[in-house]
């Protein structure tokens, strides 16, 4: 990890009302790598993503993307930085009055000068990648949760972004649908080579995707380690989290064998 980080959070603090959620978060994310941020609910994992996206401003600290502080740059510079982003929101955030096709085509229509024919070819390619090519005339309300997430991912990847954010990509999906999302992730990342920032609860399965796992606990990132090192870490917060999420369900060793 000698290279400069693509994304860097330095001592980021944020308070919502009376709740001090981020208490000096430090985190580095490197190009082409996948980082998974884990932690219990309400710890501020999604807030970290929103800070990087420039949707929330920190009370103090810096959020650097490609070396630029997203809170101290002009609107145009922020727009330029965001043009490298693709985001899969927790609830997919699809435009409910548009068809699947139009949802995926939107960034292409608004951000490029491609002809409708070129846009159609790209959208169909992305939808095929997600096994959604037969649903392009449907509206989001007519899709299942897993399909909606795949449309969200197709839209996030429409402009071949350099960094893709996944906010709880499998929350609310059953095991089969979650695996489907993971397969799509594997397929697209190996093809497009983007940097991925994933916030997830799906431990330990999500470790299979990660180059690094970071634990968000007590308002700070406890550490960012490879999945193997994470599981054997001496950090009490990490070992406690590993024990809670991956430990035995039953108290008695005999029951579990």
């Amino acid at each position: 990890m000698n290279k400069e980080p693509t994304i860097q959070l330095i001592d980021v603090n944020k308070t919502f009302g009376t709740q001090h959620v981020l208490k000096g978060v430090n985190l580095s994310i490197y190009e082409g790598k996948t980082i998974v941020i884990v932690g219990e609910s309400g710890q501020g994992k999604s807030s970290i993503i929103k800070h990087i996206l420039g949707l929330i401003k920190p009370d103090s600290g810096k959020v650097l993307v490609y070396g630029k502080d997203v809170n101290r740059i002009s609107k145009k510079e922020l727009k330029d930085i965001r043009s490298n982003f693709g985001v899969l929101f927790q609830n997919a955030a699809l435009f409910d009055s548009m068809t699947v096709f139009d949802n995926v085509a939107l960034p292409l229509r608004e951000r490029t000068s491609k002809s409708e024919q070129e846009i159609s070819a790209i959208v169909n390619e992305k939808l095929e990648m997600m096994d959604l090519h037969e649903s392009n005339e449907k509206f989001p309300a007519q899709l299942s949760g897993g399909m909606r997430k795949r449309v969200g991912l197709a839209r996030a990847l429409a402009l071949n972004p350099k960094i893709v954010f996944f906010d709880e990509p499998t929350t609310g999906l059953d095991v089969a649908k979650s695996n489907e999302i993971y397969r799509v992730f594997f397929r697209t990342q190996s093809k497009l080579g983007y940097t991925a920032v994933i916030v997830s609860h799906d431990v330990p399965k999500i470790f299979k995707l990660a180059d690094y796992v970071a634990l968000m606990s007590e308002g700070v990132i406890q550490d960012s380690l490879s999945p193997e090192d994470f599981q054997t870490s001496d950090n009490p917060a990490i070992s406690d989290f590993v024990e809670k999420t991956m430990g035995r369900i039953y108290e008695s060793g005999q029951v579990e064998g």
């Binding site: 727009k79 965001r82 985001v87 409910d96 960034p107």
Partner: protein
């Protein structure tokens, strides 16, 4: 203790409303700035909004316009007859509609029909992270969602007002001439004689301003639904903010009506 709590509450309310006013002012500035910023819009974005704000309001405008003209004729005839001036009914109906009732009632009807829809649509987009999604795609919501609605409202409102006035005048004609037996030449002649360009200009200025007020208050309320004092989340939050947008818009229209009239008279 009571005084302290009272001044605390008063101060917090004051700060909240000052904050809200400032937010709405900056919002208006940003939308107007984006209306003129390159690249210009795809025509389809604006025509879609004109259809939704203007075309879909035509029926309700025709309906209310007709009945307003009819009741004006009925009331006007009864009053004018006392002074043996029934012949002035045409100008009374036309001036009442063109200068006052046309712009105000059109704006109130459009606020109820399209303003509430604008507020709810934007509020739901905010709550379901669709606006965040746009920003993350480097698409400016001020340019993509709001500016076309502003342009459509400013174009639609004067046109709807014109339809309201024409239908109202013919509604008055139906009652005055058809029902009450007034001479049809007298109805149109008095209108021709008394209605001046300034009256039409005043109506136009009013409907333009009311269109701006309607789309400004309704879209700003929806856009900032998440910053509402009593929590603007979920269906209840959107419904509450939609109600307050319609009330604020209607009251502002009536208040500004007075000021515009006093300026232009």
């Amino acid at each position: 203790m009571f005084l302290l709590r009272f001044s605390e509450t008063l101060g917090s309310h004051f700060l909240y409303y000052v904050n809200q006013a400032g937010r709405m002012g900056i919002f208006l500035f940003l939308v107007i700035f984006n209306m003129f910023k390159l690249p210009y819009y795809k025509i389809s974005n604006i025509t879609k909004q004109i259809y939704s704000i203007g075309t879909l309001s035509i029926f309700v405008i025709i309906f209310t316009g007709a009945f307003t003209g009819m009741v004006l004729a009925l009331q006007g005839y009864t009053t004018l007859r006392k002074f043996s001036s029934e012949g002035l009914l045409g100008s009374a109906v036309a001036l009442g509609l063109i200068r006052e009732l046309g712009p105000v009632l059109t704006a109130l009807m459009v606020t109820g029909r399209a303003g509430s829809a604008i507020c709810a649509e934007i509020g739901i987009m905010r709550n379901s992270e669709q606006i965040d999604a746009l920003e993350c795609m480097a698409i400016d919501p001020y340019k993509y969602i709001l500016a076309p609605k502003f342009i459509a409202a400013i174009i639609s409102m004067p046109l709807l007002n014109a339809i309201f006035n024409v239908v109202g005048i013919f509604g008055g004609y139906a009652i005055g001439v058809g029902l009450l037996g007034l001479n049809k030449g007298a109805y149109f002649y008095s209108m021709y004689k008394d209605v001046e360009f300034n009256d039409i200009y005043m109506g136009l200025v009013k409907s333009f301003c009311f269109g701006l007020i309607m789309v400004w208050t309704c879209s700003a309320k929806g856009y900032f639904v998440h910053l509402e004092r009593n929590g603007g989340f979920g269906a209840e939050g959107v419904s509450r903010v939609t109600t307050s947008a319609v009330v604020l818009s209607s009251v502002s229209i009536l208040v500004f009506d007075y000021f515009i009239t006093s300026l232009l008279l």
